[in-house]
């Protein structure tokens, strides 16, 4: 059983900037929604109905299709105690699973360390994008941050082939002779060797890849395509991460939000199609989250920072449905003008850790949290 679980990959898509929950899963039959959102709303006739009360934003078409196939869990009202409406702090809390104080380790960094205790595979975790998100940061845990899979590695600026070959050969020689050197030089040599090894392996992924699925030409779609390539190449990668945005729609929300979701939903749809086409649907699960939702009342053009939000867990292993509770819009139920969260994000983390990755959640998320029964494996 344990070995069967160990190959599962978790794909995390971070929607940076604070995704507007109300306009993503729309309470289209609730008069209060249209009262509070006189301008920045989705008309009832436009939503993609989930049931009599809620519907997807029309830009989430591909996710609606997955929902109809029973592959989407909507985690309603997700958040954490004493919400912080700062992007940075709130994202930090999601990244470190530590709402009370400034945390030191990223939750996925801990996951990678737990999955690969000796650091045998430098590709256990990969971030697609430049700069490591704190979620993946953990002392002594190597994580590749890949801007572009095709050019990842040394000297992406060096185009001319002969110079490039000479330069790479020389680099390998310069970092090769570790014998007789001190610990620092030895460490640098080993690290460079790991980095080149990782880069060499990673660059093979696009070469092996063939697919009929078309991904759009935007960065989230391209990142998910790269993830699919790495999954199909079987490099032992377990954690995939990327971020997209900005969902910080203080103004001009309707147009921006629609465009962003078309891109994200399109990318997710293509990725799932690709997995299916390659018979790999059982191997990956997606978590889509944002640091907070937005204010209930619109500001005439957008909506300001809020608290309670929505997350999605997507994959064939999902028991499709609505989880958590959609927060009430009634004034007395609001939290300082926001949707009141009713489940801690660490419940969702714990669910994925234990039921999908087969890990003990408590040391990773800093405590015991109730889990959702949103995966099929949990029912069996």
């Amino acid at each position: 059983m344990a070995s069967a679980i160990r190959d599962k990959a978790l794909v995390v898509i971070q929607l940076s900037g604070g995704n507007d929950y109300l306009n993503t899963v729309v309470p289209y039959t609730n008069g209060l929604y249209y009262d509070f959102r006189p301008t920045v709303n989705i008309a009832a006739e436009d939503v993609l109905p989930i049931d009599d009360a809620f519907g997807f934003n029309p830009s989430l078409g591909p996710i609606k299709r997955l929902w109809d196939e029973g592959k989407v869990a909507i985690i309603n009202g997700i958040g954490y105690p004493h919400p912080d409406r700062s992007h940075f702090r709130s994202m930090d809390i999601w990244h470190t699973a530590e709402p009370e104080k400034i945390g030191k380790e990223g939750w996925l960094g801990r996951v990678i360390r737990t999955l690969d205790t000796k650091g045998d595979n430098v590709l256990t975790g990969i971030n697609f994008g430049r700069g490591l998100p704190r979620a993946l940061g953990c002392r002594g845990v190597p994580v590749a941050s890949v801007g572009n899979l095709e050019t990842y590695g040394l000297y992406p600026d060096l185009q001319e082939e002969r110079s490039r070959q000479f330069a790479l050969q020389t680099f390998t020689k310069m970092y090769g002779g570790g014998a007789g050197r001190d610990a620092v030089m030895g460490f640098l040599g080993q690290t460079a060797s790991d980095a080149l090894k990782g880069a060499d392996i990673l660059r093979t992924a696009p070469a092996q890849y063939a697919s009929t699925v078309a991904y759009a030409n935007n960065s989230v779609a391209q990142s998910l395509k790269s993830m699919a390539q790495v999954i199909f190449a079987d490099l032992g990668t377990r954690i995939y991460y990327t971020q997209y945005g900005s969902f910080d729609t203080h103004s001009g929300e309707l147009a921006t939000h629609a465009k962003l979701w078309q891109e994200v939903a399109g990318a997710v749809g293509a990725f799932m199609d690709d997995l299916q086409a390659h018979g790999r649907e059982d191997d990956a699960l997606l978590l889509v989250f944002s640091e907070f939702g937005r204010r209930i009342r619109d500001n005439g053009s957008g909506a300001d920072h809020g608290s309670g939000g929505v997350a999605f867990v997507i994959g064939k292993a999902v028991q499709g449905g609505m989880y958590g509770e959609y927060p009430s819009l009634k004034v007395e139920a609001q939290l300082e003008g926001d949707l009141h969260f009713n489940n801690d994000f660490r419940c969702t983390y714990s669910t994925l850790l234990e039921q999908w990755l087969g890990l003990e959640p408590a040391p990773i998320v800093n405590g015991q949290f109730e889990q959702f029964a949103c995966l099929k494996t949990s029912a069996s």
């Binding site: 430098v122 110079s163 020389t170 310069m174 460079a192 880069a199 500001n299």
Partner: protein, 471 residues
Amino acid sequence: MHQQDMTLMAHLLRRAGFGATRDDLEAYVAKGYEAVVEELLHPSDPQAMPEDIIRRYHVDQSELRQLDAAGANWLYRMITTKCPLEEKIALFWHSLFATGYAKLNQARALLNQIDMFRRYGLGRFDTLLVELSKDPAMIIWLDNNNNHKGSINENYGRELLELFSMGIGNYTEEDIQECARAFTGWTLGNAEYMAVRASKDSIWPYGRIAWHFEYRDGDHDDGEKTFLGETDRFNGEQIIDIVARQEATARFISRRLFQFFAADEIDAHSEQTIQEMMQSYFDSGYEIRTVLRTLFLSDYFTSEQARYARVKGPVELVVGAIRLAGSYRTPTLGAHQLAYQTFYMGQGLLQPPSVEGWHEGLEWVDSGSLLERINFIAKELSNVQNSGVRAIIARLAAENGGTLMPEQLVDRCLDLVGPLSVHDDTRAALVEFAAMDGALQLKGHLPGDPSERRVGNMLRMIASTREFQLA
């Protein structure tokens, strides 16, 4: 001019600054080592480019309340300053008194804190701690605005002792509480509102508001306190007086300065120097300038032992490479990208991962950050359009009629980027690289022609060495 003087001066400037070009080094060597140490310790006229010019031409720095612009602004000052130690000591204190944007949402307050480090960072340590305790960014960062008479918040009191002065094990939990009591009432003007604003992170509709220190007598616990065995009605200043005269404090600060300026690892050889630094700390009335002078003039620091004994931090690496390459010396569109570069390498300025600062030394390096480090500096130093690279080419072209055999090309380039001393294996690999195209003829060279590009490629390989990762 003796080569060993040049080598020692290059070492000093890597540590007390961000490296130096050959022109700068020649001027420094002419002044003599001790005179240069004094000059560095007494920064004056630091601005090669005045702040108003930087701000006028760098539209990307027009909003310094935002993180990226503020980080870029500080980096730009590091790149253009004529007083590098002033910036280096500010970077040291920023690493030690690590305050981050995440909780503040107000980068201007952080830049004000950095400016405070420039003003007080080489002066008396007790004065610096008082200024730190009044610093608005620090007050919000460690919750001293929530530290009230009758309802203390220990956060600042604890870190002042543990992370900022004495180190763990030199005080009790009761001392922390008494320390926190002494700092009650040390807050911000309109603190409650400002704290709410920080947590809301909204620049609408009124923008972010400047913060200033306010002492609230009515919220200060004026009762008797017992701190490190002494009892009185201490206020914050008296607590700092007591802290500053502890041997643990002298040791803690001397060790941290030693690790930042001399060597990542403290071994038996270093102990003598640290003892001398502690003595200077007490003799001078806790003056950091004097402690650093003792270090820079010490046998340890000036010996071979201290050479390349530190891993360059990302900010040092990036700023050093840019100062050497001579890029970004005039206002340059896209300079704000530099702030992202250090972030990609693991050191986002003004955004340390926690109050403990960054994990330095070898922990700067992992497989991801090493690629980022090498790719950035290799690109800067191989670009023959950059003025610093052109200066190196000009020097090479002026020697021996511009003809360089492969070994000469390697040795002259190693000399001009440092002098950088490399292991025999490294040098052999570089010579082999140079030999692939035979002797280099720079006579009659033209900007960007193949002969110049060979120099650029040699600098690329030198920037890629393990040795170049070290300071």
